[in-house]
């Protein structure tokens, strides 16, 4: 057995041990096994990364999973540049979240269960990114969805948490349905599910069309869009974004790990992984870019007015995921993955910081009831500030380089690129605004909560602040591997990704790049400045605006009524069908009719039949005599003919 197998195997082992022995034997020590396992995975992932860095690409099969006729699927690992970076992101953030959870989940009744699920999640995510074939990716894809469901509904006694878990699972079904069909189509058309074979043969499908309901649809576009369907669900893009904000019902470390840094980025990873397919279809690319850009703008506007600290960060996640798709859609896969990688650190940091605030506020989430937390929890404040500066795109920090790379490459990508660039820049300003809204409302000013809460305020334990500080280093420095040439850097990460993801050729002058950069910096600083005026200097302005533009405010406050719309067009008709047709007719009449009707008929028949048993011997004798008479008569008649 070689070491790469151990990367997913260690967390799996930790899961098995914790889930079996956790409840009775391991109990409060559950974190040791989980942390050691993910630490081991991290160490091996780093060594694998170094090997990839030196130019090696690891691709081999471990064993045959399914062999049936010409359908052959193996469990195999592909560790190229894209996977290597994902391995680092997944294992490092997972490790930090594990450590943070020791403090955050302390004393929870389901302590062992929590760590078991985290391990299972880490295993599934690693299988997803390491697979060398589509079915293994699909396995990981569904498994991370399952873990997400487990962990959102971790506090299942709470109805909202259980509901949110179900919502996440069901909404993802919609996307995964498309994804599943996409996988099947790829197998039908190309006869294989292995990446190397898919990418080798995909060119042969070029120009082929398939007839669907009388329309000729380009085959590659269709496959690409079906795959993208899965990504839309998993990465919470419009129109399937509704589950992610609700997923915040789960424990905060879960929000950081699954619903910010890793699982939700699986969609971006998948689109980047299948870039040879997407590149062949301009339509699909434009759909990806526009979906990303629209989602990004849409989520950012909702985040402007929300008061729940975790929900703001959740909408910010949706928005940043939109950014990544925007990048993929303009062919800048490398920039998209670069943003995925920097985003993992600053967004995990934001979530863990929010968790630290919740810890101090005894579960309070409303930023209107916070204020002045800066002096009570300095570590949380400073790390949160760094993350906010990073996500806002302040030069020098991680978020700046990745965001700028995306905007610059979008700017150079024709008309669609210009449109999404404009949207992306607007989002940059909004992002800066709502990120600093949290800073000013929660950490500055005076405390607006109850006295009890104020008395309770305290900095979080070491186990929680240490991951915050490490992530803060990531939120600052993660972007330094991608300093663009225009700023005197070498853009090492783009060159690193080039063999797998390609790199758009940009000939524009540095001056133009400075202009694009300047606009986005201005947007970021403008956003922060307006936020400062609104929430620090003149707090009456946002209140007046909310009154003045009441309709806009309520629309944003109610998240564009998307949940209500879905409730109306999907949930209610489905429920109606379920209760009035499935329960009442199919189940109540047909199935129960058969199940109850057959025994009832037999019983009825028996009731009648037992009347024959009178118990009088003479009756039996008479029937025997009559029987003999009848039979003899018949025989004689038959003979006589």
């Amino acid at each position: 057995m070689d070491k790469y197998v151990l990367i997913p195997l260690l967390p799996l082992t930790a899961f098995v041990i914790n889930i079996i022995f956790g409840k009775w034997i391991i109990k409060e020590k559950a974190h040791w096994i989980a942390i050691l396992a993910v630490l081991g995975s991290f160490a091996i992932a780093v060594s694998a990364f170094l090997e990839v860095l030196s130019g090696k690409v690891i691709n081999y099969d471990v064993y045959n999973w399914i062999v049936s006729g010409n359908f052959k699927v193996t469990v195999g690992f592909l560790i190229d540049q894209l996977t290597a970076i994902m391995l680092i992101v997944v294992t490092s953030v997972s490790l930090l979240v594990h450590i943070y959870s020791v403090g955050y989940m302390h004393g929870d009744g389901g302590y062992y269960r929590f760590f078991a699920y985290l391990s299972l999640f880490t295993f599934s995510m690693l299988m997803l990114v390491m697979g060398n074939n589509l079915l293994q990716l699909y396995f990981g894809w569904e498994a991370v969805g399952l873990c997400s469901y487990f962990l959102i509904g971790f506090w299942y006694e709470k109805k909202s948490a259980a509901d949110a878990g179900k919502k996440a699972f069901i909404v993802n079904r919609f996307g995964d349905f498309g994804f599943g069909i996409g996988v099947i189509m790829i197998f039908l058309m190309l006869g294989s599910l292995h990446y190397t074979e898919i990418f080798g043969k995909i060119g042969t499908l070029q120009g082929q069309a398939i007839n669907i309901l009388g329309y000729n649809v380009d085959l590659i576009t269709l496959i690409a869009l079906l795959l993208f369907c899965g990504a839309v669900g998993k990465s919470a893009q419009i129109p399937l974004h509704v589950w992610l904000p609700d997923a915040m019902e789960g424990p905060t470390p879960v929000s950081a790990l699954i619903h910010a840094a890793t699982m939700v980025t699986a969609g971006v990873f998948m689109v980047a992984r299948f870039n040879p397919i997407f590149n062949l279809s301009e339509t699909a690319m434009n759909v990806v870019a526009l979906t990303g850009a629209i989602t990004s703008l849409f989520a950012a506007t909702i985040a402007l007015v929300q008061n729940d600290i975790k929900r703001i960060v959740a909408y910010s996640t949706v928005s940043q995921l939109g950014y990544m798709f925007l990048a993929c859609g303009v062919g800048a896969y490398g920039a998209g993955i670069f943003h995925l990688y920097t985003h993992a650190y600053f967004k995990a940091l934001l979530f863990l910081g929010a968790g630290s605030v919740m810890h101090a506020m005894a579960g309070e989430l409303d930023i209107q009831k916070m204020g002045g937390l800066k002096k009570y929890m300095p570590v949380t404040y400073w790390t949160f500030l760094i993350a906010s500066l990073s996500i806002a795109g302040i030069p020098g920090l991680a978020g700046f380089f990745s965001k700028d790379e995306i905007l610059w490459l979008a700017y150079n990508h024709g008309t669609v690129g210009k449109i999404v660039w404009a949207m992306g820049t607007a989002v940059a300003a909004l992002t800066a605004f709502y990120s600093f809204r949290i800073i000013f409302l929660a950490f500055h000013g005076t405390f607006r909560g109850t006295h009890e809460q104020e008395h309770h305020l305290h900095e979080s334990p070491k186990a929680m602040t240490m991951p915050l500080m490490i992530l803060a280093v990531g939120a600052v420095a993660a972007g330094w591997v991608g300093i663009p040439a225009a700023l005197g850097g070498s853009n090492a990460i783009a060159h690193f990704f080039e063999p797998v993801l390609g790199h758009p050729h940009v000939t524009a002058a540095h001056e133009e790049e400075y202009m694009v950069m300047g606009i986005s910096i201005a947007a970021a600083i403008g956003g922060i400045f307006v936020s400062w005026i609104f929430y620090s200097l003149k707090p009456e302005i946002p209140k007046n605006l909310a009154v003045k533009f009441k309709s806009i405010y309520t629309t944003l406050w109610n998240k564009y009524y998307v949940d209500e719309l879905y409730d109306f067009i999907i949930v209610r008709p489905v429920k109606w069908t379920a209760t009035n047709i499935l329960v009442a007719v199919t189940d109540g009449k047909i199935i129960e009719g058969i199940v109850n009707g057959v025994p009832a008929a037999i019983r009825n028949f028996g009731e009648r039949l037992r009347k024959l048993q009178t118990g009088y011997l003479q009756h039996y004798a008479l029937s025997m005599a009559l029987g003999v008479f009848v039979i003899l008569t018949l025989v004689l008649i038959a003979k006589g003919r």
Partner: protein, 104 residues
């Protein structure tokens, strides 16, 4: 042989009459002893016809069969009476309308 022989039809007629008396007795009477006797009547009615046919056809197999039937009838009567005695001991009843536990 010779002289006025009783023709076969008479034997068959007698046999039929006795058989019908047996059937009727079995069905009409409720006393089990009488019913057992009715069964004996039916069996012996068959015996008469068997013997008559045996003579008519000059074939001894019919008479061999009669011996079997007599043996079986004796055994049947013995078992029937044994059941009857035991029934009377347990239920003090010899009439079939008093023994209707098997009523459905």
């Amino acid at each position: 042989m010779g002289g006025a022989m009783v023709p076969l039809e008479w034997y068959i007629g007698l046999s039929a009459v006795i058989f019908i008396i047996g059937v009727a007795g079995f069905m009409i009477r409720k006393n089990i002893i009488i019913m057992l006797m009715s069964i004996e009547l039916m069996l012996n009615a068959v015996n008469i016809s068997l013997v008559a046919f045996s003579h008519y056809l000059q074939d001894l197999r019919g008479q061999v069969m009669v011996f079997f039937i007599i043996t079986v009838a004796a055994a049947e009567a013995a078992i029937g009476l044994a059941i009857l005695v035991s029934l009377f001991k347990n239920k003090a009843a010899v009439h079939t309308d008093e023994i209707i536990e098997m009523k459905g």
